[in-house]
């Protein structure tokens, strides 16, 4: 590191001291490193929303806790620092050949014969949300059977001059995108609209955590049990007319977020990838939403609009095809188009929802007024819950039409400003 850079990061450290970071931590964030991750490919049994059980293929994490150690769908959330040298070692416990690749990272692709191990090494690219999956043979077969997960690349230079943390490599953005992202993240916690104060600043999840109160990963997918029936423990998945033409024969009967749907999304369980965003007014949460299934989804949020931070250009004719696009004009959306293999980052600002409570005596309450008003109500006390459902309507069902047992969940407002004793995380 050059001395001039050190001075720059030192200054950023002072500026972010209010966000709870020591200058040493800021320095640590600014250093790329190495990361070695050991994954395994195995099979697990999954209970679907209607009680039926299917076999799935799953990644397991060496040194992971609980379900991650034995295999879980989706695979573990991997977090690495931009620029760091990442080595991923994959062991194939199954009887057929598998693949491993990371979409959007050239060269991060390998093949693993039955019972053997393969390694990929790459330098972590620009910050953003990446999908790792098994695309062996050029078909989505193993991906839809459960071999998928998220790699989050944290930025090296993600802090604005004013000291606000962002999820992006600011130095690699076009000037207009840099300005837009900086303006938004600087506004958080400091303006009348974003009232959170120091707690209103966005913070990345800890590097060893899958999710945090300010960051949630959502992996949209679909399940067609006739494909899962191909999986038997200890046996090879045989070629068949189904495996020969996955895209045309796949008819999803279950639609999932993080491999759960409907009622099973209403709470988070030990060892599973958390889904439900729970936070306080003025304290934004970042959603990293990807679609690894074969159906289009349109996640629609009630209660707040979301800031659309990044997406992948999926237009094959575009010059930026396959790249992460950080817009120069950040739109507010309530519905987001998730085509297969789309990856989007959206910020749920946790603003005061406009509709609740109906007894509110002033039109523009401050967060603390809001807290007091809601506390007085018997009908709808905290937590306020707002629906998230899929506007691609059929994905709200499961098992051939049961509504609302598909891609339907909610997010929660736990309280207004100052509504809690502050906890870490």
């Amino acid at each position: 590191m050059k001395r001039r850079d050190f001075l720059k990061y030192g200054a950023a450290g002072l500026a972010t001291a209010g966000a709870g970071l020591s200058p040493f931590e800021v320095l640590a964030q600014a250093l790329p490193g190495t990361a070695e991750i050991k994954l395994g490919i195995t099979d697990v049994e999954t209970r679907l929303i209607d009680g039926d059980k299917v076999n799935m293929l799953a990644f397991r994490l060496d040194g992971g806790a609980g379900a991650l150690a034995t295999g879980r769908v989706p695979g573990p959330v991997l977090r690495v620092k931009e620029g760091s040298l990442v080595k991923i070692i994959v062991t194939n416990d199954r009887q057929e050949t598998h693949g491993f690749e990371i979409t959007g990272i050239p060269g991060a692709k390998t093949e693993i014969a039955a019972g053997s191990t393969a390694t990929i090494a790459f330098q972590a690219p620009m910050a953003g949300t990446y999908i790792y999956h098994d695309g062996h043979g050029g078909t989505p077969l193993y991906r839809i059977l459960g071999l998928h997960g998220i790699l989050v690349v944290e930025p090296l230079n993600g802090t604005t001059p004013a000291g606000s943390r962002t999820p992006y490599s600011l130095d690699k953005l076009a000037p207009q995108s840099y300005a837009a992202v900086s303006a938004l993240f600087d506004a958080l916690g400091t303006t009348e609209r974003f009232q959170g104060g120091a707690d209103g600043k966005w913070m990345p999840a800890p590097s060893n955590a899958e999710a945090s109160i300010r960051e949630k990963i959502w992996i949209c997918a679909g399940i067609d049990p006739k494909f899962n029936a191909l999986i038997e423990r200890g046996k090879q998945i045989a070629s068949s007319p189904l495996t020969a033409n996955v895209v045309d024969t796949f008819v999803p009967r279950y639609f999932t977020i993080n491999n759960r749907s409907g009622y099973d999304l209403h709470a988070d369980y030990d060892g599973q990838l958390p889904v439900i965003a729970k936070n306080y007014i003025g304290e934004p949460t970042l959603f990293r939403i990807v679609n690894v299934g074969l159906a289009h989804h349109a996640n629609h949020f009630h209660g707040n609009h979301l800031m659309e931070l990044a997406r992948v250009d999926l237009n094959p004719k575009s010059t930026t095809y396959g790249q992460i696009i950080v817009p120069d004009n950040i739109f507010e959306v309530d519905t987001t188009a998730m085509w297969p293999m789309q990856r989007r980052d959206l910020l749920l600002p946790f603003e005061i929802p406009p509709d609740i409570p109906y007894q509110i005596p002033v039109s523009g309450p401050t967060g603390s007024q809001f807290q007091r008003m809601v506390n007085k109500q018997a009908q709808e006390p905290f937590p306020l819950r707002y629906v998230m459902h899929c506007h691609t309507e059929m994905s709200q069902t499961a098992a051939g039409g049961n509504y609302p047992q598909g891609m339907v969940c909610h997010w929660e407002v736990l309280g207004g400003l100052g509504g809690r004793a502050k906890a870490t995380g």
Binding site: R47, D50, G51, D264, H266, Q379, A399, N402, Y403, P404
Partner: protein, 232 residues
């Protein structure tokens, strides 16, 4: 609107008017009889509906198409199926033991209807199926059903068992979180609130709303039982 609408097709709902009210009553009565018996009413009413605004509702399914043999667990933890109630008519209500609205209302009406039926009621087995998605709680269910008809049996089951049953009877259930009413302690489920009358052969013969007056409920059940006993 075509002249050949029948249950299952979309038909425009009437505006609120005398005609509309009469039509609504026709549809309601239709629920109480086999679908084939009232098809003519639909045809007769179509002309009157043509001028009304295009508000659509779906005609109800014929009762015979609802339900299938089930396997569940009773509130003593014993496995039960249709065959467990051989020779009996089943009067089934679907809900959840934590319910403070439709379920108690319906089950009180059920008790009153069976009382009205008198001795005939001995041929009817009242059942309450808990369709919540939590793990079965037979203690809570037993406590809940003890508030109603002495022969009322509470049924629950594994996720797969209850799911199959609600699928077969086309029961809609939707979780709303607790706290909407301070009297509720657990999650609230918005659910279908019909009674289903199943004959001893396992064929669903009628369904009707839980707020139907107990005398009407008794009359309906009695008529169906009489009809089946005279023309097998």
């Amino acid at each position: 609107m075509s002249q050949n609408s029948h249950p299952g097709q979309l038909v425009p709902a009437p505006t609120f008017s005398r005609t509309g009210a009469a039509l609504a009553l026709t549809v309601l009565l239709g629920l109480l009889t086999p679908a084939s018996a009232h098809e003519g009413h639909h045809h007769a009413a179509v002309g009157a509906m043509e001028a009304s605004p295009q508000v659509y509702f779906k005609a109800p399914p014929p009762p015979e198409t609802l339900g299938r043999p089930f396997e569940l667990m009773d509130h003593h933890g014993q496995t039960v199926t249709n065959a467990s109630y051989k020779g009996k008519w089943l009067l089934i209500f679907f809900g959840f033991a934590g319910c403070r609205e439709a379920c108690p209302t319906g089950l009180v009406n059920m008790e009153a209807a069976l009382d009205t039926l008198g001795e005939e009621a001995d041929r009817v087995q009242p059942l309450f199926v808990d369709v919540s998605m939590e793990e079965p709680d037979t203690t809570g269910l037993a406590q809940f059903v003890s508030n109603f008809h002495p022969r009322l049996v509470g049924l629950t089951g594994t996720r797969a068992q209850t799911f199959a049953t609600v699928r077969d009877f086309k029961i809609r259930r939707e979780y709303a979180m607790a706290n909407y009413s301070s009297k509720e302690t657990g999650p609230r489920i918005n659910h279908t609130t019909y009674f289903y009358l199943v004959d001893p052969e396992g064929v669903t013969r009628a369904f009707f709303d839980h707020t139907l007056a107990p005398e009407r409920m008794a009359l309906t059940i009695g008529l169906h039982m009489k009809r089946r006993s005279t023309s097998p």
